[in-house]
Amino acid sequence: MNVDHITFDNVSRFYGEVLGVNRVTLSIPPGITSLVGPNGSGKTTLLNLMSGLIHPTEGTIHVLGIEPRDPRKMFRAVGYSTQFDSFPRGTTGRQFIYSFLRLFGYPSATASTMTAEALDMVHLTDAADRKIAGYSKGMRQRVKLAQAIAHDPQVLVLDEPLNGLDPLVRAETLNLFRKYASQGRHVFVSTHILHEVDMISDQFILMSNGYVVAEGQIQDVRSEIRDHPMQVTIRCKQPHGLASKVFEMDHVVEVRLHPDGKGVLVLTRAADLFYRQLNHIAMEDFGIESIAPADDTVKSVYEYLIGEDSAR
């Protein structure tokens, strides 16, 4: 059980009869980890367990070697921004974070400097002294983020932090996550925007109905899915010629012509081999304009493993 990993050992959690998560076993290295899954798949339960807000019905969790049942050590190492969009009434941004830090036992001076730093990191310094009730949705998300990073935690747990943010703020927040991950910390992001998962995360956890369906690097997971051959879309001027040429390779399973007559979709079992041979085919004059893996993304992994509309 190495100390800089977060380990789940056969953890399950039930709310009475309602299933939260069931027999989860994970060992998560530092870096950005995306948590993906349909609503009600146990994502929030997993995050609550990881942050020590709730405790497992059975199985054990260790966060950087800390036992979550000891609040004093646990919450110095973990910062959690929940999905609830609610704050104590009538406080301003600065007061909210300052009082949160005072709960840590920090003296007044350190607390206010740390508050100022946290607010500056999320670019809320100018709106810090306005009431949170008057904040827009984006600003409320950022003040939640500031609260989570104010005490400089090693583990940052964020439940849909980008929900409702406009593109500008979204880009800034993603950069902040990358900076944190580069400092060797854990950043957990639960999100629904799959193309962002591809962009930012080092590894991802796919959950469905309380079970972990897949976890690890995106490419590795994709290649492990044997029953779905890799799809590659090639746009070119002579699709028919290219299609017949590609068919000669034995590992190609299926070739489909795009209705607009300028594209070919190739399904192959051995992706690496296919790409090498493609370079040689490209030398002949098929007028290839672009090559793109059609399902090398979390979205396709999501569809293959969870199915398009299984979870309503």
Partner: protein, 303 residues
């Protein structure tokens, strides 16, 4: 026939000016309304619906002035609000049916129409359950159902896909596509998720601090692209960019290991494939770069 005509529209709450002097004519089938938080998107929608008073200028929808014939406009508009808007103790059928009757439909027609619409949005088997028991995705579909039950000419969707999980989002986008292709209504989509807007909208209007900073047709925008090529490889990456620049093509690497090359106009792609073949490299992704909506948006934000 132009759908929405803004001529100098201005809205003011107390002394704060939310929208100032908007001038635009929107006429395509599906219009994207974008802008950062607090740019006035929701206020513009509320002004079009006549919820909030207009302080200066005028606006007209389908040729009807927003202030004068407010009721006629409201019977022609379907509005799907951003935040939660449901009557928790009513079943989906009775809620949609009541909303249909409120828009002027006869009771029997409203009942038939309610069932038809609920099946169409995919809430077929859950339509007799109370709305309070619906999941977030189902609530969005119920909101969409009540917006289209009276067959509106203009459908306004405020953050339709916000917070939905991937399956629900795909279903919502498919529904929006079908409605646009049905040629029976125009759709205004106000959203933060640029990918969704890019997939569904032809025309885009970007607001910032109450002013229009960008108004363009996405289809045209895509054609006018410079010759940029983006390459993603698999296997050893070191030195690939130097070798490319060695060939005389300026190449930059972005954070996820993607190579960006700027090529002269008459460039033949095969030279790159030949180059890769010699080194037995796998070019996983080779594509012409176009300005994605995100870049258009970020550019508009700088002005």
């Amino acid at each position: 026939m132009e759908i929405i005509e803004l001529s100098g529209l201005g809205v003011r709450f107390g002394k704060r000016e939310i929208l100032s002097d908007l001038r635009a004519t929107l006429s395509s089938r599906s219009i994207g309304l974008l802008g950062p938080n607090g740019a006035g998107k929701s206020t513009l929608i509320q002004a079009l619906l006549g919820f909030c008073p207009i302080s200066s200028g005028t606006a007209s929808i389908l040729g009807l002035d927003v202030m004068r014939d407010r009721n006629r406009i409201r019977s022609l508009i379907g509005y799907m609000p951003e935040n939660d808007a449901l009557i928790a103790n009513m079943t989906a059928v009775s809620m949609v049916r009541m909303m249909g009757e409120l828009s002027g439909m006869h009771a029997k027609a409203a009942l038939e129409r309610a069932h038809e619409v609920l099946f169409y949005v995919g809430l077929g088997e859950a339509r007799y359950r109370e709305l309070g028991t619906y999941s977030l995705g189902m609530r969005q579909l119920a909101k969409l159902a009540q917006a289209i039950v009276h067959g509106p000419k203009l459908l306004i969707l405020d953050e339709p896909t916000n917070g939905l999980d991937p399956p629900a989002r795909q279903r919502m986008i498919r529904l929006i596509h079908e409605m646009i292709d049905s040629q029976k209504m125009h759709v205004v989509i106000c959203s933060h998720l640029l990918a969704d807007v890019e997939e569904t909208c032809e025309e885009v209007l970007i607001l910032k601090n109450g002013r229009i900073v960008h108004h363009s047709n996405l289809a045209e925008e895509r054609l006018a692209n410079k010759r940029f090529v983006e390459i993603e490889t698999f296997g050893d990456l070191q030195g690939f960019d130097e070798q490319l620049t060695g060939l005389g093509y300026p190449c930059t690497v972005d954070v996820k290991g993607r190579f960006k090359l700027e090529l002269p106009a008459d460039f033949d792609m095969r030279r790159i494939y030949g180059f890769a073949a010699e080194r037995d490299l796998q070019l996983r992704r080779v594509s012409y770069r176009q300005d994605t909506l995100e870049e258009i948006f970020l550019k508009a934000m700088e002005t």
